[in-house]
């Protein structure tokens, strides 16, 4: 797999600790692990050369992966306990319709989920590749996993500290603060209500802890380096995407092809993608409790959440299909590939932004912050500027947590086939392009595009399945029409 960390400088084992530090301080080598050094970091590496020897034995990338797996294990175990408790209360309160008993999760099937999550992470070929490549992505994942663990355990301070660490490495985990806040508030029974003082007080507390630790980290690195140069060379590097080395993301080809004067505009469009999902969560949404319904006379179904899902899924699917077709045509005909692909991506990205807004404004995520974390991680790994396969491994580790959604997934076969095929085709096309010299970048980018489309489809499929299950839990599994005949849900 071409994750760019493959060209990581492997001169000595001593490098690993330098990498650790330089990734804890600035996320340099994750973003620029091609051996290029920016600014002062050559010096930085030299300073830590000696420390390296000391710690390189202790700290290794395998350890980071193990930490991630253990953290995920504990987090998911705790989360499952809560889910189960909540379900029990709901059952006792008779809140579920009778025919939904099939959807109720049994402790037997939930028992192995944490183990599955850990195994999914550790045995995922993407994780292994990332570890072999000694990419700092593994460290990043470890910190995010610790953040998830501390959040789910309900420790506000640690959660804020780990979030700030993750943000400090690469900016994108910033968006995870919304689900963390929601989760912690839910746990402490603080209503999400703008008019309440307790709500604002909690946000202020969390923001103080988060910004405070971020401030400390930033200042520490300033004192260590003696200049602010690292800010542009780390965060500027992430945000303004100067390095167009091919990777599995969407940025490089597009920005390599683009006219220079559009660069800023498209930079904003591309980067906004990652952050847009979280905006509506800060918008006050009116909470509509499910209407009371009698069990024996099924009322006309309400579809409060469905419009947005419909729009989202429709548009996503259309865009994806359109992109797929374009890609196929491009690859086959090999004519005007660049133009086609650019147009496709452009359309795709713009539509995605709209969809995100629409989805986020409408959908009531508030009840399910952990699902939101999953979605956010996926979105980050798809739309970040220098994605690696390690990012994908992190969110894919969560897939066993949602195995109760499998009956509602619709395109899982197609999507997993595409993901599999793309993962195999990446190295092949990379070889053809770089080593054999017979194919060109268009071939590789076509697969990148397809891979990302498949990821989007996967995420939107899970999203749809989640909402559909919630819907069924409220309105019953077997929907009836007015006249009592059986009915199907149609998304239109």
């Amino acid at each position: 797999m071409r994750c760019k960390s493959f060209r990581f400088p492997l001169e000595s084992s001593a490098v690993s600790f330098a990498t650790l530090l330089s990734s804890l301080i600035p996320d340099l080598l994750l973003q620029g692990s091609y051996g290029r050094k920016y600014g002062n970091f050559v010096v930085l590496d030299d300073i830590f050369e000696r420390l390296c020897c000391l710690f390189s034995v202790v700290v290794s990338f395998q350890l980071a992966d193990v930490i991630t797996a253990v953290a995920l294990y504990m987090a998911v175990a705790d989360y499952n306990k809560q889910v189960f408790r909540k379900q029990k209360y709901a059952l006792e309160a008779d809140r579920y319709p009778l025919d939904c008993l099939e959807l109720i999760r049994s402790p037997k099937e939930m028992y192995y989920i944490p183990l599955k999550v850990a195994m999914f992470y550790l045995l995922n070929p993407f994780t292994i590749l990332c570890c072999v490549a000694k990419s700092t992505c593994g460290l990043n994942n470890a910190i995010i996993a610790l953040f998830i663990l501390t959040t789910i355990k309900g420790s506000v301070l640690l959660s804020a500290i780990f979030l700030s660490l993750a943000t400090y490495q690469s900016i994108y985990p910033l968006t995870l603060c919304a689900p963390a806040l929601l989760y912690l508030m839910q746990r402490q029974y603080i209503p999400v209500n703008f008019r309440r003082f307790s709500f604002w007080w909690f946000i202020a507390q969390y923001a103080f802890m988060y910004l405070g630790s971020l401030f400390v980290l930033v200042c520490l690195s300033f004192f260590l380096l003696g200049s602010w140069d690292y800010l542009p060379s780390v965060y500027g590097f992430i945000l303004s995407v100067p390095d167009l080395t091919p990777n599995i993301g969407l940025f490089w080809y597009f920005f390599a092809e683009m006219f220079e004067h559009f660069r800023l505009f498209f930079l904003c469009v591309f980067q906004i993608n990652v952050f847009f999902y979280t905006i509506p969560l800060s918008v006050k949404l009116k909470y509509v409790p499910p209407p009371p319904r009698s069990r024996h006379q099924p009322s006309r179904p309400h579809y409060a959440t469905l419009p947005c899902v419909c729009v989202c899924v429709c548009v996503c699917v259309c865009v994806c299909v359109c992109v797929c077709v374009c890609v196929c045509v491009c690859v086959c005909v090999c004519v005007c590939v660049c133009v086609c692909v650019c147009v496709c991506v452009c359309v795709c990205v713009c539509v995605c932004v709209c969809v995100c807004v629409c989805v986020c404004v409408c959908v009531f995520y508030r009840e399910h912050p952990v699902f939101l974390i999953f979605m956010q991680l996926a979105v980050i790994s798809i739309f970040k500027s220098y994605p690696t396969v390690g990012d994908i491994a992190l969110y894919m580790a969560f897939i066993p947590v949602w195995n109760h959604l499998h009956r509602f997934l619709r395109n899982i076969f197609l999507v997993s086939c595409v993901l599999l095929a793309c993962s195999a085709l990446f190295p092949v096309l990379w070889h053809l392009w770089i080593y054999a010299g017979s194919a060109n970048s268009n071939f590789y980018y076509a697969i990148t595009l397809l891979f990302n489309v498949a990821q989007i489809l996967l995420v939107s499929d899970y999203f749809y399945a989640f909402l559909r299950r919630e819907h069924h839990l409220t309105y019953g599994l077997y929907l009836k029409r007015k006249d009592g005949s059986e009915a199907t849900l149609v998304l239109k």
Partner: protein, 650 residues
């Protein structure tokens, strides 16, 4: 506004009738046309499509297979192909006047070379160095040695030691950052003397010309590809195959293009162009175009795959001639071997081809001066290049020298075969997903519904281990085999390979012994789903790197993958499976290749040829890093074993 909103709600929350009864659907709401919906999200359409695909699965598969084969055969039909054209501007429009005069003198040099070769009993290094120096080149030598893993019986060599001699003609007109290579192999016996003579003649001629903007490297390599490998590795400072060679003392710029010359007679009737390189890689089509253009201009008969092109494409014989030419190219490409000394250049991004002089009984004769002029013209055009050849195609097939089929045209043929695998996979998926019928008390038989991971993993692991054995054992155990059996080393290697291959057929029994319980109905379906997807990805990747190999494998393996289940008649299917296995495919390919070359062989000779082809495949892998043998041993064969396993599922 309000109305609109209700409209939207009704559109979203539309509830539709699921029953497939004859009564018309009652549509009490506004029907919204959903053109932009796509099949993926509309459950009714999905169901309809799925139903169609599962019901008509077998016929669709058969049609796809037929269509794929027909498409492929159609590729050779001239109206469906494109005429070749020069894409590279730098080589297109410039006029070149060729003035190479010294053909006779070159032949005399060749004779002198032959005499010295005979005297030294190998490569006359000193003479070559002196001669090249006399022609004003910077001359260097490189010695190399290599012990083959087992003796090569075709070329009768085991411990190879040799020397490459090369002379660099520095470009008078430009910074020396780029270079062109002209090489001629120094073969044992009486072969190729004229090529070396012509090479030296051209060196002398180029020395006095002022137009050169790129260095020209004149290389005489010993032990054909092994010497070439040593030289290229030395030139690029790489060592991929563990060969011993002395470092190069002099270098030119980065090599842009290379031609390898093979010429064994004073007068030839036609020139043959060889394009197929290592792992089926081809040079840029512009190189072939260049050769063709100059042959047309100078009036030399030119062939590809040894076949002249014909004008009667609309007649049956004309079409079959084109098919023959294309099939020869496909077979050569699929073998993954370098078919000339140029084959190893391609690995380093260097466009290269071999030009072979052929002397047959035709009336039309060409002398050495004309060939020299042709080469001069080609080098002058290559000299004009501003960047590497990249404008034209890298993926193509040639039914004749003036026509080609590009990747966009031949990929659908493969795609149609690959679709069969996807359809079968879809069918299996649907079968696996349909919930098993509930029993009276509503309890689902859990054992039926969830096949253990073990039952799928065991065959996968065991068949891959067999593959690893097939890959490792033949070379490792040759000594032991030679001790215990009355065979030579080469035979030992080949026969061990065949023995391991055959032993793999006993696999299902061993797998079942390891398995705890009985295999279930669902179990083989899951295994088959995995195997089919595996095969699809494998063939797809292979076809991208080496289309011919991928297509030939698809042609034989796809039917196997499509039809095999535990419920088909065992003996007949086992026979078909063996016939369509990779080893038998190779056997048929050997006979077919001989047929195509119009040199049919008896079964006995064919078998001997088959054995030597296997040993060559292993040697190519060890010596030059050809990927065909590991691909077959480590991936394709295990995949085929999975299907074998499914057939004997218990």
């Amino acid at each position: 506004m309000l109305r609109q909103r209700t409209h939207v709600t009704s559109r979203c929350g539309r509830v539709m009738d699921r029953r497939r009864s004859s009564e018309p659907r009652r549509q009490d709401r506004v029907t919204v046309d959903n053109n932009n919906m796509g099949l993926l999200s509309d459950p009714n359409r999905r169901r309809a499509l799925l139903g169609l695909l599962t019901r008509l699965n077998a016929p669709i598969c058969v049609v796809c297979y037929m269509a794929g084969v027909a498409w492929f055969m159609g590729l050779a039909f001239e109206p469906f192909t494109l005429r070749t054209y020069m894409s590279e501007n730098a080589m297109g429009s410039t006029m070149v006047e060729e003035r190479f005069p010294a053909g006779e003198r070159a032949l005399a040099t060749g004779r002198e070379f032959a005499a010295h070769k005979k005297k030294t009993g190998g490569m006359p290094v000193d003479w070559l160095v002196r001669t090249m120096q006399a022609r004003g080149l910077e001359v260097f030598t490189q010695s190399f040695s290599r012990t083959l893993p087992f003796p090569d019986e075709n070329k009768e060599r085991y411990m190879v030691k040799g020397t490459n001699v090369y002379g660099i003609l520095r470009a008078p007109r430009a910074p020396r950052t780029e270079a062109l290579v002209l090489s001629a192999p120094c073969n044992p016996g009486d072969e190729n003397n004229q090529a070396v003579g012509l090479l030296l003649g051209l060196a002398q001629y180029f020395r006095n010309q002022i137009f050169l903007a790129k260095d020209v490297i004149f290389l005489v390599n010993e032990h054909d590809l092994i010497g070439m490998q040593a030289w290229l590795e030395g030139y690029h400072h790489t060592n991929t195959t563990g060969m011993d060679w002395s470092p190069l003392q002099g270098r030119g710029g980065s090599i842009q293009a290379a031609l390898s010359l093979e010429l064994s007679s004073d007068i030839i009737t036609s020139l043959d162009l060889v394009l197929e390189g290592l792992n089926g890689q081809l040079p840029n089509l512009d190189l072939a175009n260049l050769f063709y253009a100059f042959c047309q201009k100078i009036g030399v008969l030119c062939t590809i795959q040894g076949k002249l092109q014909r004008n009667d494409w609309d007649s049956v014989s004309g079409y079959s001639h084109a098919v023959q030419t294309m099939m020869l190219m496909v077979m050569k490409q699929a073998s993954g071997r370098p078919w000339g000394d140029h084959g190893l250049f391609l690995r380093y991004h260097i466009e290269a081809a071999t030009i072979k002089g052929i002397n047959s009984f035709r009336q039309y004769k060409t002398d050495a001066t004309t060939i020299g002029r042709l080469l001069e013209g080609m080098y002058r055009k290559l000299n004009n290049l501003l960047e590497r050849l990249h404008q034209s195609y890298f993926f193509y097939l040639m039914p004749s020298l003036s026509h080609f089929v590009s990747i966009g045209y031949y990929m659908p043929a493969f795609g149609l075969l690959a679709v069969i695998l996807l359809l079968r996979a879809l069918d299996l998926w649907v079968q696996l997903m349909t919930p098993p019928p509930r029993t009276e008390d509503g309890v689902i038989d859990i054992e039926q519904s969830s096949p253990g991971v073990l039952s799928v993993l065991t065959p996968l692991v065991i068949s891959h281990l067999t593959g690893v054995a097939l890959y490792m054992l033949p070379v490792r155990f040759q000594e032991m085999a030679v001790e215990h059996f009355p065979v030579s080393e080469t035979e030992a290697v080949v026969l061990t390979a065949i023995a391991v291959y055959t032993a793999g057929l006993a696999l299902p029994h061993n797998t079942h012994r390891l398995l705890a319980g009985e295999g279930t109905e669902q179990g083989w379906r899951v295994l088959k789903l995995v195997a089919v997807l595996y095969l699809a990805v494998l063939l797809g990747c292979t076809a991208l790197i080496n289309f011919s190999l991928g297509f030939i494998l698809a042609l034989t393996l796809v039917p196997v993958a499509a039809f095999v289940t535990p419920h088909v008649p065992k003996v007949l299917s086992a026979f078909i499976l063996v016939i369509l296995s990779p080893a038998c495919t190779l056997l048929f390919s050997v006979f077919f290749f001989q047929e195509l070359q119009e040199m049919p062989v008896s079964f006995q000779d064919g078998w001997v040829l088959y054995l030597s082809v296997i040993s060559q495949g292993i040697l190519d892998h060890v010596l030059y890093g050809s990927l065909v043998y590991p691909l077959i041993a480590l991936l394709v064969y295990p995949c085929w074993l999975l299907f074998w396993n499914i057939l004997f599922w218990k």
